[in-house]
């Protein structure tokens, strides 16, 4: 009971922090809207017909998964900021398990991504992206998986960084290549071999592909868009999630204690 309460308290704190941080709310909402509204629209206008798929839908689903995954991952990095403000001391001297701390953070950061996802979906409706209740339901489930997966990725990155400054410098190099290797804006079915290998080890790819499984499942264009079926994506995500969590938490706790 006490571990569950502690996990909920950690998650609650993250959510409260979001609600009180106006700048973050604006930044979190602005970027995905720019990507979908401007990039999606221009791509569709320029290449839509040649690509044979609706690039607006394609970019929308990609950005939705990428935003939630990235936001959750970056939220975990806030443990580094906590450490620098010495707030993590309060968390780390408490009797709860180190795994509960990480689970609480992931849960909290996943919760934080939900308002963002809701705003993106609303924006999708405004741009007249068609979403049936069935699709919405599948996308909501996929979002939960994507948010938790992003959090686990954050843990493994966090475990290898020493400060918020290092995180700010290194994280873009970890994220930016994945934007293109995961196929957020660009189809990646026919990549040259080296890029194909890189794409297959980029965790974000599976988050984006799972979201497209949820959106395109059963649609005629699904063959052109989906890389793996939902079951395969879920299996890969589950394996990566467990590995990131175990290795990441172990390394993080060890780094905290063995300074």
């Amino acid at each position: 009971m006490s571990e569950a309460s502690a996990i909920l308290a950690l998650a609650h704190r993250d959510f409260i922090k979001l609600l009180r941080d106006r700048q973050r709310i604006i930044a979190d909402f602005a970027f995905p809207l720019i990507f979908i509204g401007i990039l999606g629209t221009t791509l569709q206008a320029g290449f839509g017909e040649r690509a044979g798929i609706n690039l607006m839908d394609y970019v929308f689903t990609g950005v939705l998964a990428q935003t939630v995954w990235q936001s959750s991952a970056m939220g975990l990095i806030s443990l580094l900021a906590d450490r620098e403000q010495d707030f993590s001391q309060e968390i780390f001297v408490s009797p709860i398990s180190r795994y509960s701390i990480i689970v609480g953070k992931i849960l909290g950061e996943s919760l934080v991504t939900l308002p963002q996802a809701l705003a993106i979906v609303t924006f999708g409706f405004i741009l007249q992206i068609h979403m049936s209740p069935d699709q919405l339901w599948r996308m909501a489930l996929a979002l939960v998986v994507v948010a938790l997966f992003g959090g686990a990725f954050g843990v493994i990155v966090l475990a290898n960084l020493s400060s918020q400054r290092a995180a700010n410098q290194i994280f873009p190099f970890v994220l930016l290549p994945q934007f293109f290797l995961a196929g957020i804006f660009n189809p990646i079915q026919n990549l040259p071999l080296p890029l194909d290998i890189l794409s297959k080890i980029a965790p974000m790819r599976y988050a984006v592909d799972l979201m497209r499984d949820a959106y395109y499942g059963g649609l005629p264009s699904s063959q052109q868009v989906q890389l793996f079926d939902a079951t395969t994506n879920l299996a890969i995500i589950a394996a990566m999630f467990v590995a990131f969590m175990i290795v990441g938490t172990f390394l993080f706790v060890r780094a905290e204690r063995n300074r």
Binding site: S2, L10, D21, D86, E90, I96, N258
Partner: protein
């Protein structure tokens, strides 16, 4: 209550041990002070004892629980006030306290203060009153002064009734009135709950009231005992005397069997005698009488200057 044996810590890439084989004990209910200049190893020691840092060697137990093997049990038994405030600036004072209560498993989670268990609300009200922050308990921490933040941290750290309260230089950066009120509150806490207090400081006046003091310098224990023990053991009590008839005085002092070193003026070790009895026994008319009864500050400076030589 606390037992430290041959504790060693060497930080990664460091050439010297930050803590170099220290040993001491703290009894239950004691007000214990770990005193030393900056870089002496005080924060390292407190970090190991509170399980946030792994030692390189040696062992330490709190109330019988090993700080490495039984870290979780240790964490339940201790409260900590860190050198740098560890409050979340984004939360209100009460939210910080609630967060602590939930992390320590004291109450079941509820999403707001009003929905928390009545016992929690009563405890928060009582503690806030005790520390004089009842009116501000629902205000954001970022609006608090340094003194109020420290009070809030004390309130938070006492919530789970710790057996030992660790305070790592808690008054650093506080003005004199805030410092004084903080000590009044801590004395009150100690009087009412019997909590063992383990304080690190480099302010000597804060150590004067301690039951026992351990002085650290360069990671080693250089003195240990009550404030009086430390004064007695480490600094000489003596009286300086001089007279116009120096040879007569010198002969008389030798005849009386007083130990003298150097002079003139002649330095007489008290060695258990009172200044009064020494002066009464001297017949040679004295022109200079200077007594030297060291304060703890003198003792401390003496110790630290000796080790830095």
């Amino acid at each position: 209550m606390i037992r430290v044996e041959e504790l060693v810590k060497r930080y990664k890439k460091a050439e010297q041990n930050a803590v170099d084989g220290i040993s001491f004990e703290v009894k239950a209910g004691e007000f214990f002070v770990l005193l030393g200049p900056n870089g002496a190893g005080k924060t390292t020691t407190i970090s190991i004892l509170t399980t946030t840092l792994a030692p390189t060697g040696g062992r330490a137990t709190i109330d019988g629980s090993d700080v490495v093997r039984e870290a979780s049990a240790v964490r339940r038994k201790v409260g900590i006030i860190f050198q740098r405030p560890s409050l979340d600036q984004n939360l209100t004072a009460e939210e910080n306290v609630r967060f602590h209560a939930l992390l320590y498993g004291l109450y079941r989670y509820a999403p707001s203060y009003a929905l928390m268990h009545a016992d929690y609300r009563r405890q928060v009200e009582d503690l806030a009153k005790l520390l004089g922050i009842a009116r501000d308990i629902h205000k954001p921490v970022r609006t608090f002064s340094g003194g109020m933040r420290r009070k809030l941290e004390i309130m938070r750290s006492l919530l789970h009734n710790p057996k030992v309260l660790f305070l790592d230089e808690p008054t650093a950066g506080l003005d004199v009135p805030s410092r004084r009120t903080l000590w009044e509150h801590l004395s009150e806490v100690r009087r009412t709950s019997g909590t063992t207090i383990f304080l690190t400081t480099h302010y000597l006046e804060e150590a004067e009231e301690a039951d026992r003091i351990c002085i650290l310098d360069k990671g080693r224990v250089v003195s240990f005992g009550t404030p009086d023990d430390i004064k007695r053991d480490l600094v000489e009590d003596y009286v300086l005397v001089d007279a116009d008839d120096r040879s007569g005085l010198s002969d008389e002092l030798a005849r009386l069997g007083y130990l003298t070193s150097g002079g003139p003026p002649f330095k007489l070790q008290l060695d258990g005698h009172s200044v009064h009895s020494i002066l009464r026994s001297i017949e040679t008319p004295l022109t200079v009488v200077k007594t030297h009864t060291p304060s703890l500050e003198d003792a401390y400076l003496e110790i630290v200057s000796k080790t830095s030589e």
